[in-house]
C-alpha cells in the first residue's frame, strides 16, 4: 500500500506514487534548469512534458494500470535521456556545469534514526558534514553554559524530522535520482531486517528488560553526576586562575 499524489501535466491528470513523483519532479527541475539560458525554454520544456505525459498514458493503458510507479518514471526518463546527454555540443555543457546549477541542495532535518534524544545533533552533523559526536560534544558544553537545554528544545521544535526517503536524502545532501533511491531503499530494508532479528533475540521477559533499563539509566545518572563534578571542578580551577 502506497500513498499516491494527483498531478497535472499540461492538462492531463495522473495518479503517481509519492516516490515516483519525487524522482519525476527532480528530473523536470533538472530539465528546466538545463534550458534556463536557452531561448524559448518554455516551449521546449512543454514539449518534453507533453511527451512524458504521452509515454505515461501509453504505459498505463498497456498495463491496464491507474497509478504511475517508480519503474514507469525510470523507463520514461531513460527514453527522454539524462539531461547531461541532451546537448550534442559538449562545450555548452561545461559552461552550464560551472555555474553549479546541478548541485543538490542540502536541507536541515532531524535524524531520528541516529539519535540520542531527538536527532537534532546528528541532523546538524549531516548538514555541516561533521560526525554527530562533535556536535553532541558542543551540545554538552552548551549544557553547562546554561543555554543547552532551552536551545535544544527550540531546535527540536523548529527542525522538521526527516520522514520520507526524499527527506533523508536531502538531509545527507545526496542527489535525488533513481540510483540513490534504490540504494536508500535497500538500506532501509536491510535495517528493517536486522531490526527484526534483534527484536526476536530480545524477546525476553519484561522484568529482565526493566532491570536492564534501570541499569542503563543508573549508568547514565552516574555519568551525569560525574560530568557535573568535573565541570564544577573546572569552574573552580578557572576561578582560581582568574584571581
Amino acid at each position: 500500500m502506497n500513498k499516491t499524489i494527483i498531478i497535472n501535466i499540461n492538462g492531463t491528470v495522473f495518479h503517481i506514487e509519492e516516490d515516483a513523483y519525487e524522482v519525476l519532479r527532480t528530473y523536470m527541475t533538472g530539465v528546466k534548469r538545463h534550458f534556463t539560458y536557452t531561448t524559448d525554454s518554455e516551449e521546449i520544456v512543454t514539449d518534453i512534458e507533453n511527451r512524458l505525459a504521452e509515454m505515461f498514458s501509453e504505459r498505463l493503458k498497456l498495463d491496464h494500470k491507474q497509478v504511475i510507479i517508480i519503474d514507469d518514471v525510470e523507463f520514461v526518463t531513460e527514453k527522454m535521456g539524462a539531461v547531461d546527454d541532451f546537448d550534442i555540443d559538449e562545450e555548452d555543457q561545461t559552461i552550464r556545469l560551472s555555474t553549479g546549477a546541478y548541485k543538490t541542495e542540502k536541507k536541515l532535518f532531524r535524524d531520528t534514526e541516529d539519535s540520542l534524544v531527538g536527532g537534532v545533533c546528528s541532523g546538524i552533523g549531516h548538514y555541516f558534514g561533521v560526525e554527530p559526536k562533535w556536535i553532541r560534544l558542543i551540545a554538552i558544553i552548551t549544557l553547562f553554559m546554561g543555554i543547552g537545554i532551552p536551545l535544544y528544545i527550540i531546535l527540536w521544535l523548529i527542525i522538521p524530522k526527516a520522514k520520507s526517503r526524499v527527506d533523508k536524502m536531502a538531509m545527507k545532501g545526496e542527489p535525488i535520482n533513481i540510483q540513490n533511491f534504490k540504494k536508500n531503499f535497500d538500506e532501509e530494508i536491510e535495517g528493517l531486517k536486522s531490526g527484526l532479528r534483534t527484536a526476536s533475540k530480545e524477546a525476553k521477559p519484561a522484568i529482565n528488560r526493566l532491570a536492564r533499563f534501570i541499569g542503563k539509566a543508573g549508568m547514565l545518572f552516574i555519568k551525569f553526576i560525574g560530568a557535573i563534578i568535573i565541570s564544577t571542578w573546572f569552574n573552580y580551577i578557572f576561578r582560581l586562575l582568574e584571581r
Binding site: 501535466i9 499540461n10 492538462g11 492531463t12 530539465v31 534550458f35 536557452t38 531561448t39 524559448d40 516551449e43 521546449i44 514539449d47 518534453i48 507533453n50 511527451r51 505525459a53 504521452e54 509515454m55 505515461f56 498514458s57 501509453e58 493503458k61 527514453k79 527522454m80 535521456g81 539524462a82 539531461v83 546527454d85 541532451f86 546537448d87 550534442i88 555540443d89 559538449e90 562545450e91
Partner: protein, 118 residues
Amino acid sequence: MIVENTQTQMRKGILEYCILSIISRGEIYASDIISELTKARLIVVEGTIYPLLTRLKNNGLLIYNWQESTSGPPRKYYILSPAGLEVLKRLDTTWSELSYAVEVSLENRIIEPTTEKS
C-alpha cells in the same frame, strides 16, 4: 579533446541535415523522428531533439500543426516550410560536395572498421 570536438562538429551538422531530410518525407511526430534516427544508427536521446526542433522552427525552417492523439495530449506534427525546403536543397548540394571531397581524400586509404561506441 580535439578529437571529440571534431566528432561533435561533424555530428552536429549531419544531425540537422538528417532531421531536415526525414521531415521532408512528410509530416512527422518528434518521437517518430527519433525512431528514424535510431534506424539510421544516429543515436541521440529524445531530449536532444526538442530544443533542435524548436530552434529550426523559430528559424522558419519548420512548421508544425497540432493533431489530436488517442494516447495523451495533442501532438505537434512537423513539416518543412518553403524556406526549409530551400535550405535542404542547399544542404544537399553541400553534402554532395563534401561527400565527394571525403571520397577523394580517402582514396587508397584502407579504413579498418572499428566498433567504437559513441
